[in-house]
Point group: C2
Chain length 401, copies 2
């Protein structure tokens, strides 16, 4: 089996842990796998380098930042290859450039444009374990770039796609994807399988196992993903195409997002284009609007509600200022949370939403907003009730079974 | 003026010192120079990375070591470029690869094969200060290589040659090249100018300002070198072609080398080829023989003396073992030192050697061996007299004047 294994910063956090990763890789090699490893910088290294740069400048040039930050992953890749060689395993360390990764020129958040599979495959065919420095590539002009937060996941998935790997294993410090955050609901269960789309919804809703961009890319390139714990031998969660999940549960998980704030405009003038103007102004101010709900209000006017990240609430207030005469009053609410029920199975099942509303009502939790997509139902509730809401929904859909 | 400035590990030892280097570069820019900077890793960084690698292996693979070690200089180059930009100076950091440096494939001690001047000149023409990560390059196949100890000096000189710089300034933590080690002779004077050949003799004799390879390359490429102190504004020492030194002093400096040991073979059979056999065996054992002196001995036999590095004395004993029946007795002496008088002027002056012997004799210092080259006279003395010998010669040639 040709497999890509990605180890994040915590998994390679010190010299002993890198040795632990080497032992782990050896097991796969001994089992007959051809292995390509993608590593992050040792945890703390990237932040140390950022601090160094900020010693000189609050806004260091992004081109130089990329040259600076790319060094962390190079160090880890060389060390891991050395550790593997010492165990008698042929191994070759590669920078992003050597691994054939070409990106666009958007420094600090470059997009992978192409991966030449040959440099890596030439080595795996020879029986060598290739250890690639994650998070980085070069432009066609030869400038060093980095891929932004979660970039090493992206490197792993993109390489897995390019070399047509059978599996891409993402090692972190948790066992996999859970039905909900186990710190909120100790009865949460690890999922054996989940679809790309569900994972996307869960990732964007705060399940921090995998970055959205990596899941999107895995879906696009049809890369079979597994997320598992580098510190134990547990099975992990497989992330695949919907079609590959035989028995699709109606609901796979409950996600909680406490980083949203709610804006409510009451008595908005009901003239064509007003919504477009307001959201255009918010977009121009780079504010990420998440849920949007519009209701009929009194006397031909409408009520318009939406959520924005808490950190962008002040900017949102400013942007809305300009529309004062288009509405009667405005409410800003910081003390809300968004609870989402995610599951591909709900497409073909009715009554999923009703069950959620009943469950919350039984706990006397007031629903402030509702939004739905094909595979997701989100409700906004008072923040203080949010954990209770998660637990009550978790039980309602029998996710602890 | 197009100038290359190289700053070593101590000069970029911490964030403040990198800022100090930026200030220094700014002065040259303000004075109208086009500047290319070559930097080493922050002091301690390279050793830290070596320690990391040795955690896994006593003999880590050289290919991976090069990828590992090259990261230190990349960090410094990015930080210095950021510091310069913050001061309003356009600046671009470059890895060895980006600076167009191609080497052979001898990892950890690669030789520069070619430097494409265009990537650097394109930036200097635009008015940017180019900050190059020293000590590194890539092979034609794209593998990262490093140039060995003193490699950043080599990078600086090679770049200066490739871009036809007017001057190559090597910044260290001493003011320049001295007539002798000031710790031995406080009256030692800094030299204003010295020829490549003299510098070569002094460097190989223990004056640690510049590595031999860099001086050789400077001579070959006719690069005008200056070595000066990064922590003050003193003038430094200019290292140029003999012809450019108007008034050549007879003697430029006195060097001391305490790392040699002496081997004396007495009563060597006087048959053709015996010397070739002995030194052939030493060469085969990778022993660096320095001075060789042969004298007529008693009854048609000869006495053969030579020096080897102290660390190689045991290996030398072993190599000589095989020739036991070709000589009467052998002496190994660890307690010697080599004192050398260096100066291009002595080519055209007689009596230089005589003055040395008189001076030593006046101090009752016994001369154990004598060796000469065109611009150097070396004497081997008992180690305990070596500092006295240096001071007495320094005075004899009036180097304190």
């Amino acid at each position: 089996m040709l497999v890509v294994q990605k180890f994040g910063g915590t998994s390679v956090g010190d010299l002993d842990r890198i040795q632990n990763v080497a032992n782990r890789v050896k097991k796969s090699v001994d089992a007959g796998d051809q292995v390509v490893v993608v590593v992050s910088a040792m945890s703390g290294e990237t932040n140390k380098l950022i601090d160094y740069a900020h010693y000189y400048s609050k806004t260091p040039s992004v081109r130089e930042m990329d040259l600076l930050l790319s060094s962390g992953e190079r160090v880890t890749s060389a060390l891991l290859a050395i550790a593997l060689q010492e165990m008698g395993i042929a191994s070759v360390a590669m920078s992003g450039r050597q691994a054939g990764i070409t990106t666009d020129g958007i420094h600090t958040k470059a997009r992978i444009e192409m991966i030449d599979p040959e440099p890596i495959l030439r080595q795996t065919r020879n029986g060598s374990v290739v250890v690639v420095a994650g998070f980085q590539g070069i432009t066609q002009e030869g400038d060093v770039t980095t891929l932004g937060r979660g970039g090493s996941d992206l490197t792993a998935v993109a390489i897995a796609g390019a070399i047509k790997a059978d599996l891409c294993e993402i090692f972190t410090d948790v066992d996999g994807v859970y039905t909900t955050d186990p710190r909120i609901e100790p009865l949460a269960k690890k999922l054996e399988k989940i679809s790309y789309d569900e994972m996307l919804e869960l990732a964007s809703l705060g399940a921090k196992v995998l970055q959205n961009r990596s899941v999107e890319m895995a879906k696009k390139l049809n890369v079979k993903l597994v997320t598992r714990n580098s510190f134990n031998e547990n099975e992990g969660t497989l992330i695949v195409n919907e079609e590959e999940i035989m028995e699709q549960p109606i609901v796979s998980g409950i996600a909680l997002d406490k980083n949203q704030a709610r804006v409510t405009l009451r008595g908005v003038t009901d003239r064509p284009g007003i919504a477009a103007e307001i959201f255009g102004a918010l977009a121009a101010a780079n504010i990420n609007v998440d849920m949007i709900v519009q209701n009929v209000g009194d006397s031909g006017k409408t009520n318009l509600g939406f959520t924005v990240p808490k950190t962008e609430l002040i900017a949102a207030q400013k942007a809305i200022e300009g529309f004062k005469k288009d509405f009667d009053s405005v409410d800003f609410d910081n003390n809300i949370a968004k609870v989402s029920i995610v599951g591909v199975g709900m497409k073909s099942h009715s009554g999923v939403a009703a069950k959620a509303f009943t469950s919350l009502s039984n706990e006397n939790i007031n629903i402030l907003m509702i939004g739905t997509s094909e595979i997701k139902i989100s409700v906004v509730v008072h923040e203080k009730y949010s954990e209770l809401a998660v637990r009550s929904l978790h039980a309602a859909y029998e996710l602890d079974k």
